[in-house]
Amino acid sequence: MATLDTSRPAAAALFAGLSLRAWKVIGLAAVLAAACVLPFTISSYQLLLANQVIVYAVALLGLNILTGYNGQFSLGHGAFYAIGAYCTAILLDKTGIPYWATIPLAGALCFVAGFLFGLPALRLEGHYLALATFALAVATPQLLKYKDFDFLTGGVQGIVISGPDTPGGLPLRSDQWLYFFCLLWTVPLFVLAWNLLRGRTGRALMAIRDHPLAASSMGIDLARYKSLTFGVSAMYTGIAGALGALLAQFVSPDSFDLFLSIRFLVGIVFGGLASMAGVFFGAIFIEFVPNLADLVSKAAPQAIYGIVLIVCMYLMPTGVMGLLRALGHKLGRLVAR
């Protein structure tokens, strides 16, 4: 993101007396304020959808750190989402741990899982890594159904859990509370990611993506950075999975099929690779476009989905954020004139 702010010296140009940076701060504050007001203005069902968008945005941020910023392709991030979701569901089902404490545990488990998966993946580049992660996505639903794990995972049936109640004294419905609970996780996660990506670590991640050999000649330890990035990425997506389980109050193997991983990839490409703001557009896309496609044609929703995707990619080959950046350049030039 830091590169965004500074990519054009001419963009120091002012829009209505304020710099681009100031406008971004104002925009961010407005979005946050709107996010806080939102649950009081929409129906429960709409709130559920909004909450799911926020949860997907966290999952997409995880994948974007890995793929967009570090250049490692993953077709298997649905697996980490599933691990996070099942971790929370199993802990709530089998132990007395409070729901809020399951989230960091799910994150820690996914960090370890991602780090360990990243170690052998270090030897794989590009397409080969995509295939290895694809295998992960294919295997996960079957492992979750496997009958020897039944006692934990509930097998094909999955696990039904109850959603969190509003803490005493807060004048909120339980779905409103859950929305704020997700927001309380999402905002710090985005702040941490922003800090991570704007400094030395973020530059190292992007350097590895652009030219691994030169990056190692600059003193960047590729093995360390790539495996830790895999861990951090899986942790974000896993925390999203854990929040998603609280939201759905249900986990089952079939909710975490291969298609979920593909949707995550679609989300980050649609929103814009290596963009933090883009993941929200991506999350909106993957949450709403399937339903819209269903409205257009009950018979062939997938075909409609495919057509929408092709048109979007044709019109915005660098994603929503790429388009917005291009428009920003144009606007900047107009104002400078």
Binding site: T3, M218, D221
Partner: protein, 264 residues
Amino acid sequence: MSGPAANGAAKPLLGVDGLSVHFGGIVALDNVSFRVEAGQICGLIGPNGAGKTTLFNVLSRLYQADSGTIEFEGKPLLRQARHAIAPLGIGRTFQNLALFRSMTVRDNVMIGGHCRARGGFAANALRLPFVGREERTLGERALRLIETLELGAVADTPVAALPFGTQKRVELARALASEPKLLLLDEPAGGLNHEEVEHLRDLIGSIRDRLGVTVLLVEHHMSLVMNVSDKVVALDFGRKIADGTPQEVQRNPEVIKAYLGGEL
């Protein structure tokens, strides 16, 4: 300038001894030995395919040596990991450019300083106070180098959008940002016009004189090498054929033969 009195008995900054590299049946370097003293500018010349870039790539640990040793400040270099070379104090540029193309000039130069900072994942994510200080130091140093190399106007432009000659200067700034003791320059004059080469000569001189950096220079531009170097090493077909002052090397019959071909 730093370092001990340059009497011949002291350890050189860089000592290459009996270095050989094979690719399949091809001998890229054949028992090459030479030394570079601290504060020298050492030119490395030879016809195409003589093994100059191979030698650089062995020094940066991109290629494995088959036999021989390299000592840097008395420490064996060939046991180091690839990413440990920059922290030791060896910086380099690449013949065909190896920049981070989607990133800005400023970020490229700041990555050059990566090995002079230490903030890791957790410290960066939490933006601990020392990380902020490190960032400021790196940023200020990058800015000075950007100004020295006249890159100020393009500091926030992605590198891919810049002309070749400018990208070469970015590589030099990036290499200097790692605060090297030894700088390996791989054909810095390649693709530059006459005026730019003149400028480059002064620049290399001032890198040594003002920053105290020892320079090992691979270059085809003979007048540049002979003008700027304190000593010159000549390679041909992977063997060292001459080693001495520019005047000595220019007069060496083997060097003349290698460049002009034929029998003497």
